[in-house]
């Protein structure tokens, strides 16, 4: 983690020239050879279940267990063989503090299993992989289960501070008089619950809702409502196609409630939506003139994802076949009000350090927080001014081929369980690369609060 840039925009001051980078691309595997290689050997996720106005069937840990059981069941080593469990989760329930540990115990991984939870908002699921990656790379562990889980439908109703303060006063009132006077001070607004999710999706520093940050960068990079809607439409079509073709088999494992309800697919997908239908939706965040609508934003969703990371030692010990190697990762920060551009900073820095160019990346997973935000990132990378002054490049990064980006849909069609998405895009990137016979890919995401995360993987 020593490579983290101290300030935003200080990504890479002295980029090597294009010709140099091209020539060194082939040697990228040999950089920092003292580090141990780290492999992804397997992974699975639950279907992503759209929140439907009431708490969904699973808590965050339930989801992690639903996803982890079949994944562990298909390994040829015992669940207790892991060295650690790391789980990303943003909205932790009061009943499930340190969900990583609760999940590990419920998965039968043994009392002795160290487990901790990481939280970096929308990057939590990737942070867990990154922490596992760096730990194994440094020789501190050989086999780690790293995941993300989120049940946004369970986000709590919170009492306003004023109400909580009143309750404290009432609860501690001794005499009848004190109680009566406390009762007299009660105002209806004090008991009006605040929807925790809404607070969670509002940047605490700028007080901008995430949707507003998308409006802002969409405006800066001139993303039209039609372009955003068209992007959203394709996200649904791509996911529907992937579901139909069986491309998600093995990656998505069914979940079953204890009442016997079967959930076997991502249920937010709307393959029958159209430009006309999308055009009818009203702006959700900046009424009436905004262009970010429920249709071109990611969905509020529940889901969990796990990947298994292993060192070479673990591969040998358990006879595992790796799917891919994690080459490197990068995290960047920027003004929270334009958090959506995070991917451009961290991904560019990551490629610079590995001496890779845009063309070297055969597939991209860029988390679809908002269609306008994804399109703004793409536009920024094509913007000469932005690339020169912010990314420190000598020329625009260039256009990311549409056919290399989010090929099987993304958070707009799948949903965005915030603590899970980062994990899912890494897992899916690996599977999509392998399916396409491709080698190198980047998974990247914007993170509420003004951060971006990126991870570079290579199929082995």
């Amino acid at each position: 983690m020593a490579q983290l840039p101290r300030k935003q925009e200080r990504v890479n001051r002295k980029p090597p020239t294009r010709s140099k980078r091209a020539s060194s691309a082939r040697q990228s595997n040999n950089l920092e050879s003292k580090d141990r290689p780290v492999f992804i050997v397997d992974g699975a996720r639950t279907p992503f279940l759209r929140a439907r106005g009431k708490p969904g069937p699973f808590t965050p840990v339930d989801l992690a267990v639903q996803c982890g059981r079949p994944l562990l069941a298909r390994q040829n080593f015992s669940p207790a063989s892991f060295d650690k469990v790391i789980l990303g989760c943003v909205n932790v329930l009061a009943d499930e503090m340190n969900p990583a540990r609760v999940a590990a115990l419920r998965l039968g991984m043994g009392d002795a299993m160290p487990a901790f939870t990481v939280q970096i908002n929308c990057g939590s699921g990737m942070q867990s992989i990154d922490t596992a990656f760096r730990t194994i790379e440094a020789g501190k562990a050989d086999l780690i289960l790293a995941g993300g889980t989120e049940a946004l439908s369970h986000a709590p109703l919170v009492w306003p501070q004023e109400g909580a303060a009143w309750f404290g006063r009432f609860a501690f009132a001794r005499s009848l008089l004190e109680r009566l006077s406390a009762l007299g001070a009660l105002r209806p607004r004090m008991l009006k619950p605040v929807i925790g999710l809404e607070r969670g999706l509002t940047d605490p520093v700028t007080q901008l809702n995430m949707g507003q940050t998308a409006e802002k960068i969409g405006h800066i990079f001139n993303i039209s409502r039609e372009a955003a809607d068209a992007y959203a439409l394709e996200s649904h079509q791509r996911l529907a196609r992937a579901q139909k073709s069986g491309a998600l088999k093995g990656e998505v494992v069914p979940a079953v409630t204890r009442e016997g309800m079967l959930y076997d697919h991502d249920d937010g997908v709307r393959p029958d939506t159209s430009m006309e239908r999308l055009a009818k939706l009203k702006p959700a965040f900046e009424k009436p003139y905004g262009s970010v609508t429920p249709g071109n934003s990611s969905q509020i969703t529940d889901g969990a994802s796990w990947v298994i990371l292993a060192s070479e030692t673990a591969l040998k010990k358990h006879g595992l076949t790796p799917l891919a190697r994690i080459v490197d990762s990068e995290w960047s920060g920027l003004d929270p009000s334009i958090m959506g551009l995070g991917p451009t900073l961290c991904s560019t820095a990551l490629l610079e350090r590995r001496r890779l160019t845009r063309e070297d990346i055969e597939l991209w997973e860029l988390n679809e927080a908002f269609a306008a935000q994804v399109l703004a990132c793409l536009a920024a990378w094509e913007d000469d001014d932005y690339c020169r002054h912010v990314l420190g490049l000598e020329a625009p990064f260039g256009r990311i081929d549409h056919n290399r980006l989010n090929v099987d849909g993304g958070a707009i069609s799948l949903g965005h369980p915030v603590g899970t998405s980062g994990n899912r895009i890494v897992l899916h990137l690996v599977n999509a690369l392998r399916r396409g016979g491709l080698r190198r890919g980047v998974a990247t995401e914007c993170i509420g609060g003004g951060l971006g995360g990126a991870m570079l993987v290579e199929v082995v």
Binding site: V65, R69, P70, A73, R74, N76, D83, R106, L107, G108, G110, D111, A112, G250, V253, P254, V256, T257, R258, E259, G260, M261, L262, D264
Partner: protein
Amino acid sequence: MAVGRIPAGKHLNRNRLTLGPDAQEIAKTTHWSLLRDADAIAWLVLDRAGESTNTLSEPVMTELETLLGQVEALQPKGLVLRSGKPGGFIAGADIRDFAGVSQRDVVEGRMTQAHALVDRLAALPMPSVAVVHGHCLGGGLELALACRNRIAVEGAVFGFPEVLLGLHPGLGGTFRLPALIEPLEAMKMMLTGKSVHTAKARRLGLVDAVVEERHVVNAVKAAISGELKPTKRGAGLSRFSFYRGFAARRMRSMAAKRAPEEHYPAPHRLIDLWEHHGAGKKEVMQKEEIHSFARLLTGETAQNLIHVFFLRESLKAGGKGASGIAHVHVIGAGTMGGDIAAWCAARGLRVTLSDLNEQALAAAIGRAGKLFDKRLHSGVARRDASDRLTPDFAGDGVKQADLVIEAVAEKAEVKRKVFGMIAPLMKKDAILATNTSSIPLKELRTAVPFPERLLGLHFFNPVARMELVEVVSHDRVSDAALARLAAFCGSIDRLPALVKSSPGFLINRVLTPYLTEAFVMLDEGVQKETIDQAAVSFGMPMGPIELADRVGLDICLEVARTMQSGLDIALPDVPGWLESMVAEGRTGRKAGRGLYTYDRNGEPRKSTKYPEPHSAITDRLILPMLNTCVTCLREGVVGDEKTLEGAMIFATGFAPFRGGPLRYARTRGVEEIVGALERLQAQHGDRFKPDPHWRKLPAN
């Protein structure tokens, strides 16, 4: 990763019982110790020598009498009564003392003596406290009731299971319990024999406090200093005889619904006691309890049920030992497969359940959730059981399981195909068990390269209620696999019966003549309700027509065919209408219609108007069953009589108060049975021909 050799939890969570801090031993007998602690409190600790569980035998009671004398002389500040066995308090009387008892006056004398002892405990001049962990049943609970306070350690279970042995409490329970807790609750406990768990015991006022083991010393001090007030909720309205009369009438009709009085008199005697003496003097209630208890104990029902108790113990003993099975993989999430998987998970095993039909698999998980709600007592236990049961959509569990149970369609070719697919994936020492109800294993064992590890494991429907499991061997099974599978049954609280693989094994072989005879009678025009009533009056839990519907007419047909083709026996022909019903999908309860139609709760719609059955119908149903039991003994399908008798009771519910089919035959007279069979043979044909082995049956 574990640093030491023993996990911390395993090392530290051993059950450590508090037997008084810095206690000094005052006296020690074979089964009891008397200690005195630093606070001058006496601890009377029962730890029965040579037994894993504490029960009350004659020597235990005699020693207690001596020690109570010492306690009286010692004059401690208080007395604590508890068990030195980590497993539990006292499981009740030593049933061995009850077997074969026939003289009523001897029993009365013994009980009067025992009552005097319990009265002496209740009359101690110093406060007394029973500290209860684990099981506290029957006589054990009666001792606890004689103490001033009862303190339960979390996990304690209380109950009066006497009624299940055809008895009612006999050591003061019938009057001490209704005096302590709400009398209707007390009667419910004694009438149903159901245990109550810690939390409910506290709610009922059966115990004054529930504590963790680590607080036992402080709780005892509080009880003895008088800080912990004894709970008393008895009496109330039941002081009035009109109220007791009204309540007793309701109880009688409920008891009669569960079991008829002529077969199971104990609940009715208990209700009599309460109705007539419930508000009387203690001396009267005591005398009446002793009198009634002695009459029941020396009666036929109790003696037969005590016999059944030992049949269960004997089957249970066959399931002792380590199975080495921690992970079970079940293939097929139908009724049987799904319910077997759920049961195993409820009993603490890791289970993967697979099925090609995803909806069926999910539905099985839903049924499991209901089972956990009903059978497990805490949210934690329910969650853990659900977590242990993985719906395995990919079938990956086969590779990790120690035992694979196949419960797919009852067709040899389907089963062989499944075996062919999974055999190469299984662990080297894993056992493969088939839940076939009739297919001979020699037809299946060639489908796997390891016949020594292929066995039959035949559960009965409903899995959660039928305790018996047939463990089916064949000529190439290894003894080790057989022993492991029997131990597996023990580990999930089921009773294994070892049987040889012959068509229908034991239970279906015996039931088939019973069911087919009922079909013949249907064809003769006997009303189905009449046929069923004949069997129920005999003491079967349900009649043959209803049973056929419950088992599934398709399964019945399959079993009958297997038996007709595989055995040289006279069976009535399978009626043509049975085949057409199966072809139409009218397969019984599971389809909502079979010979009966079923309502939404799965209850058959029966006509209330039908001719009363006469004894000839009963004999035509029951005697072929008995005859086949004898044939199975002769052929060695089952190794011994005890296993046969126990298997029939715990798999078919064969009238337990009759003590088993052969005990019934002997009670009625073997000669008389053979004669009746011969008469039926003359009338209806060779299917009633008495087996030659009848003549060789030992006399008892």
